[in-house]
Symmetry: C2
Subunit: 160 residues, 2 copies
Amino acid sequence: MAEKAFQDYYPDELSHCYGCGRLNEHGLQLKSYWDGDETVAVFHPRPYHMAIPGVVYGGLIASVIDCHGTGSASAAAYRAAGREMGTDPGFRFVTASLRVDFLRPTPLGVPLEVRGRIREVKERKVVVAVTVRAGGEECARGEVVAVRMPEHMMPGRTTA
Amino acid sequence: MAEKAFQDYYPDELSHCYGCGRLNEHGLQLKSYWDGDETVAVFHPRPYHMAIPGVVYGGLIASVIDCHGTGSASAAAYRAAGREMGTDPGFRFVTASLRVDFLRPTPLGVPLEVRGRIREVKERKVVVAVTVRAGGEECARGEVVAVRMPEHMMPGRTTA
């Protein structure tokens, strides 16, 4: 996992996301990578990311699933097109829907392993199934339906 | 909305949640209230809670839906039992599943109005439908399936 993360290929104007933007100094700065046909991110929750003492906050888990999902969608679209990440025109995705099932309390204090499997790649939609493991146990499972970012949301491509 | 928020009735040991714990100084400190048969919370995203400039981060929206849902579940369980919030034994809920549909980009810089409708109240499960509006427009819609907190998760009730 020494290569560049998916999110490191995002252009500067799309790198302010609280969950994964490398330019958001207050944010989580999630980094996602290929691992064979799966995608993986490792995230270390901070001590204050708790639901109750010792248990990771569910909204944080939803957040890492969300950003890992859209990052994986972008990477999958490039791979499906046989193109290198970062080449133009860019494949940028936003979340249309997010589902998270919390299977058991996620222990706080160990890294979270976030894994994505690409379920579907279409022209304008990618579906990613995501699992979150902590200490070797699957604690949450989710699905991200990611859609191509509408042109009017692309910073710098509109006057709005 | 001058009354005490649902979350202000949580005992101290359950008030460290990153999303809604009054004792988590790093957290969002969401506050939820009854408004007739609905529940409502108003949240002001911080400038860095962005997805892209001008748009609220989806994981933040998922987080406020999550905490508004579990808070609403607790309040609904008390109301269904004809009891005042804060009386013992407490009705505490955790999220079993969370779904969010992002309907349109949520503008950053205006308060979010988070509204819950109680769909189902059972002994161990409450379902809450939640909408998020910004500037008068519905931007996201979600559902929280909340289940009674297992005894072993109750802080101070176990040696684990």
